[in-house]
């Protein structure tokens, strides 16, 4: 028991060090700006729990982050560097919206699963393409996922601006999806999306799938050494592709749940780089599903806390963007270094 506890401590030492170092640098910055750095930091980290409505917003923020991070976990475990979370998220969100709007006359019992599955499928397709290209032709997946992000964002921009745009609203937003297919709020926490529960369940399910099933073991084997796995009889290429489909599907689900549970429509700017932040969370958690849930919660706390911090003190909320950059720079340095020594 103590041995496994030590293992856990050793595993989280590097990411925790990166987080603490980043927070320390941030504190120095904040102290140079405001006379109340402690107050600013309290708001940044804990204002999410001041009221039930703050808490609800926090859960809403954590939902897409968790799901995208889980997707990245699957991809990384299969040896694919999936930078495409943003594109997969947008594909899911726009597809759910389009289906919701186009099928507004359908009964909810048909439309809801259709919209949800459509979103998941769209994300999965966007994940499938780089997976196949990587495994079959060895096309670098970083490039394809990066490029696909921009392609998908341009497609959604066209749809949101020219095709399903709500002409009565300001900005590039679509018409609302019918209220009958809105996701019910979470029990006990009004205004929080019940999508969060889905994310939590999926985090634990991902752990079971990756570490307690044959399929998960094969995915990890394929990710560690594709040719070796192939040689020992594991259908590694297929596992990698499926893992990318799962990764895209999870990110697509994130977009879908956002539309059904929070936004109720597609907004071109709904994501503050969720794709990249989700990737950050997954890497910080060292591609562990439960860890990814924890880091996603931490990041949601920071993202929303920054807004409260800006209101109570005069520290700009973009401090968080700055800190994210620092964290990403620092954490990878630790991550790879630690991995090499192990």
């Amino acid at each position: 028991m103590t041995a496994s506890l030590l293992d856990v401590l050793r595993a989280i030492r590097a990411p925790v060090a990166a987080i603490l170092l980043t927070l320390a640098i941030g504190f120095l910055l904040v102290a140079s700006i405001t006379d109340e750095p402690v107050r600013a930091y309290r708001d940044l980290l804990f204002a999410n729990f001041d009221s039930l409505s703050n808490f609800a917003l926090f859960l809403n923020r954590a939902t897409p982050l968790t799901l995208i991070a889980l997707g990245v976990v699957f991809a990384f475990r299969a040896g694919i560097f999936n930078v495409g979370g943003e594109g997969q998220l947008y594909a899911g969100a726009i597809t759910t919206t389009v289906i919701g709007i186009a099928g507004a006359s359908m009964p909810a019992i048909v439309l809801f699963p259709l919209a949800l599955l459509g979103g998941i499928a769209a994300g999965a397709v966007v994940g499938w393409v780089p997976g196949v290209l990587k495994v079959r032709l060895a096309v670098d997946e970083v490039v394809t996922t990066l490029m696909l992000n921009i392609i998908v964002l341009l497609i959604t921009s066209w749809l949101a601006n020219q095709v399903i745009r709500d002409t009565t609203a300001y900005g590039a937003v679509s018409w609302m999806v019918p209220e009958t297919i809105w996701l019910p709020p979470m029990p006990l926490v009004p205004r929080a999306t019940s999508g969060f529960l889905v994310a939590v369940v999926l985090a634990f399910a991902s752990w079971v799938v990756l570490f307690r099933t044959r399929w998960g073991a094969e995915v990890r084997a394929a990710g560690t050494n594709l040719r070796f796995a192939e040689a020992t009889g594991v259908p590694a290429a297929r596992r990698v592709i499926t893992a990318m489909v799962v990764a895209g599907g999870l990110a697509g689900l994130a977009g879908s749940l956002y539309v059904l549970g929070v936004g109720h429509r597609f907004e071109q700017n709904f994501s503050p780089a969720y794709g990249l932040v989700g990737l950050t969370c997954a890497l910080l958690a060292r591609t562990h599903p439960i860890g990814a849930l924890a880091t996603a919660l931490f990041y949601a706390m920071m993202l929303n806390g920054a807004a409260y911090m800006q209101i109570s003190t005069d520290v700009p909320r973009s401090l968080v963007n700055l800190l994210t950059g620092l964290l990403v720079l620092l954490m990878t340095a630790r991550l790879v270094r630690a991995a090499r020594h192990a």
């Binding site: 032709l137 096309v139 909320r317 700055l322």
Partner: protein, 305 residues
Amino acid sequence: MTLTALLASVLEQSTPILLAALAAMITLRANILNVAVEGMMLAAAFTAIAVGGWSGSALQGFLAAIVVAILFSQLLALLTLRFSADFIVAGLGINLLAAGGTLFILERYYNSPGGLRPIAFPEIWHIPVGSLSRIPVIGPAFEDQSIIVLIAILAVPLSYVFLYHTPLGSNLRAAGEDEHAARSAGIRIERMKALSLAISGLLAGLAGAQLAMDKLHFFLPDMTSGRGFIGLAATLFGGGLPWMTTAAAVLFGFFGALGDRLQVFAIPSQFVLMLPYLAAILGLTFARWRIHLRNRPAKVTDESA
């Protein structure tokens, strides 16, 4: 006359993309996929406006932009080469740091999160109007282009000569092609990679300076709007070869120039803007596919049938 206008517009659109493409190319030859070009461009664009507006000197703004971009590139080099961080993650970190840092400074020190517009901004040197009118069509297209456009055009043969006709350039390529072989030949890999990143920073700095200083004279938080990635796409499409990369960058610049005009034909601009990225994916896939076909084991044909 309209041909001249189109040519001028293509030149203007291509220059930052070309510089970004060369920036990505030089690191690609050292086996680094440089996703940080976008961030370095953004930091340079901001510095150009901030320093140029503050000092009233275009030269100082220009030089400061390049210095900042090189500093960012060396931060990336430090973290990846010294602390063995992953190039992709650290590169994305540089992008986030540049975007977050510029926004933070805008909010904190300029109190204008929307952007930075100095009331007066010094002009960078442009080719005087009328000086090239004797050359038909092409001459007028170059008139009123900034000096950075000329530098960008010069950078193409320079990068070619550097990569293929200098010892340093061959060492850099050797470091990128086979690390172990290069190391045993006495090439210092880390130094070569750091150098390629520094050159990349220089070129990305030029690209950022051009974006901010040429015509606009202001800075917006999302000013680079993916040009760094288009440059990366051009490099990948061009296979990391100077002339092919240049051709791809100019082609993509041409699409950009065309993008605004194509709406006349009822083609949404988004689909035109998409072309560089699609071209990069298809180009890479096609290249890999050809290699795949070549390396395919020979088919065993059943001759008795």
